[in-house]
């Protein structure tokens, strides 16, 4: 059974067709990369999957571990194990990183029928994970994403992913705004979480992220549907010839 199954997804925004029958099947242990030019529907796809208001499917369906997502709100999807690393993580003034993380983790644990972590146990766990991600304690004390550099924001996203242990993670343009060093740290963080039980969907414009997070499958998204799928070599083809060649050939 697929962990994530998108079947013929169609979606309109402001009466404009954005997703035009997109299908994708992601199994346990796999990393998929979705590449596409600007305006191909990449961000719409991630919002649709995460269940953002206004991004409801017109037709088609999405399944997480065989369960249809169509009647599930964004928070239910998240608790069920769907994680979205944001392209632009949102600032929450005054909301401490540690308490935010703890509420998030406990929501997920509650859903899974696990005991909620008390403050001390949580702080210990968070520090352990944070140190692996080169996230300083000091950053967890600050308000979520407020005054964070681009790199810090992305590291904090991946830290959340590590703490929440999702089934399916969607990384939306996680490489944007990162220099090479930051890119390496973030990618290491992601790679450390690859296992046989989860799956990762990397949405990206550029090939360079895929040097660090090496995908099993690469899909080219153009004008709202996947026009070509292949292995990691497909990403290199994009790098060499650009999207135009592929799109014209399709």
């Amino acid at each position: 059974m697929s962990l994530l199954e998108i079947k013929n997804a169609k979606l309109k925004l402001d009466d404009k067709d954005i997703l035009k029958g997109l299908s994708l099947s992601v199994s346990k242990g796999e990393v998929h990369a979705i590449m596409g030019p600007n305006g191909s529907g990449k961000s719409t796809l991630s919002y649709m999957l995460a269940g953002r208001d206004g991004y409801e499917l017109e037709s088609g369906e999405v399944f997480l571990e065989g369960q249809s997502l169509s009647d599930m709100e964004a928070d239910e999807r998240a608790r069920s194990g769907l994680f979205l690393a944001f392209q632009y993580p949102v600032e929450l003034p005054g909301v401490g990183g540690m308490s935010f993380l703890r509420e998030a983790v406990n929501s997920r644990r509650k859903f899974l029928g696990e005991e909620e972590l008390d403050h001390l146990a949580f702080v210990k766990e968070a520090r352990k994970v944070a140190s692996k991600m080169f996230v300083k304690d000091e950053m967890l004390k600050r308000a979520v994403n407020v005054g964070f550099s681009g790199g810090e924001k992305k590291r904090f996203e991946i830290l959340q992913m590590a703490m929440l242990k999702p089934k399916v993670s969607i990384l939306d343009e996680t490489d944007s705004g990162l220099d090479v060093d930051a890119l390496k740290i973030v990618s290491d963080g992601v790679n450390a979480q690859r296992n046989d039980d989860n799956a990762i969907v990397v949405i990206t414009h550029y090939q360079r992220l895929l040097d660090y997070i090496v995908p099993d499958f690469v899909h080219i998204l153009s004008d709202g549907s996947i026009i070509k799928s292949g292995g990691p070599e497909l990403a290199l083809e994009v790098e060499k010839n650009g999207y135009a060649g592929l799109i014209n050939a399709a």
Binding site: F83, L92, V95, E103, A143
Partner: protein, 483 residues
Amino acid sequence: MVATKETIDKVKEVSSTYKYGFVTDLEAEKAPLGLSEDIVKFISHKKKEPKWLLEWRLKAYKKWLSMEAPNWAMVDFPKINFQDIYYYSAPKTKPKLNSLDEVDPELLRTYEKLGIPIKEQEVLAGVAVDYVFDSVSVATTFREKLAKEGIIFCPISEAVQTYPDLVKKYIGSVIPISDNYYAALNSAVFTDGSFVYIPKGVKCPMELSTYFRINEQNSGQFERTLIIAEDDTYVSYLEGCTAPQRDENQLHAAVVELVAMNNAEIKYSTVQNWYPGDKDGNGGIYNFVTKRGNCIGKKSKISWTQVETGSAITWKYPSCVLKGDDSVGEFYSVAVANNAQQADTGTKMIHIGKNTKSTIISKGISAGKAQNTYRGQVQIQKNAKGSRNFTQCDSLLIGDKCGAHTVPYINQFTPHARVEHEATTSKISEDQLFYCLQRGLDTEQATSLIVNGFCKEVMKELPMEFAVEAQKLIGISLEGSVG
């Protein structure tokens, strides 16, 4: 009237075991409806007050007759008929119930969310239990500890009898009877309230909380509180309760006076959660309060922290008069207005002494159809050289039918002072909500988290045990306002 008789008996029974009793007048009957000179005399007589206090009350009453209700606040309500109010009645307790099963389940859910222990829930909901005796013993130990330090903490009606000189000297010294319409009314008819006296050099070893005043709910609609801190003292006073409080009296007009001598510090924290009325504002409490502190002494400090979530209408401006050189005034406020609530609240900082400092941090949250106004005055008088004020007013809007208003008045009569005012208005953005939802928080958790983040600077000023409950309270007050 069997119920009332029972109630009186019950209170009597409690008070007989209650050595230092806060309960002052158990023989109380209802005064006739309405307000007149006779009613003022009746109240004073019932409370066996000395002549000077009766005269003071009568003076206030006459003053009140000549005054007009203020109409400058941004609140809208039908004219109050002052002849349709009872100004003195027997202490009333809520109808006694046999167990929590008989309590309104909605109320119980709120208690649960606030994390109030079962025993306290029973007391709050008016279940007939013996726990009252527990509180009595707690309160008694508590008062013994204070007495050792020479601290006086008792009902003001008791202080009138026991410490008449102190009361006479300070009552009305901060808020004169002619100060405003509601203060004049309170002066004429106040029923009870707290009296605190901290003798020279004493740091009060614990937070003084009205919670220990077991018959608090009977203090009525015209509460009067007086706190005096002598030289080199510290006291922290907590007022109110996070649990929702219902009261059949619609109008509440309290007066709170604080006096701080040299190097004295008074920290006054309030959590106000009076019944706000239904979604259309029917039946809620009108909370028209005058609170002011006099920093008389050098290097004295008065700090007001308030979390206001209840009442249909709030009209309240806790203020500081900074007379002593180097004295400090602070005002930290969170005002939440949801549904049909209206809040017009803020502060006055009057700088008279040299090098006086004041800080105002106001966080207004509006949701539903509510209107929330910050109204503040900063006055730097001619001799207040080297004085400084910093004001920050932030408003948060939830939904598109509510309003936030900021009305600052700044009067500066010397060039040798610095006044800063910052104001922002923001909304909870869809992006913020979605971000929280994507992490598995539900809409109510997310709203509570974002709003509490917005209020953080104020919440951290609250004493710890209050802060945790107040955080939950803010979340609960805004339930259903998003999504």
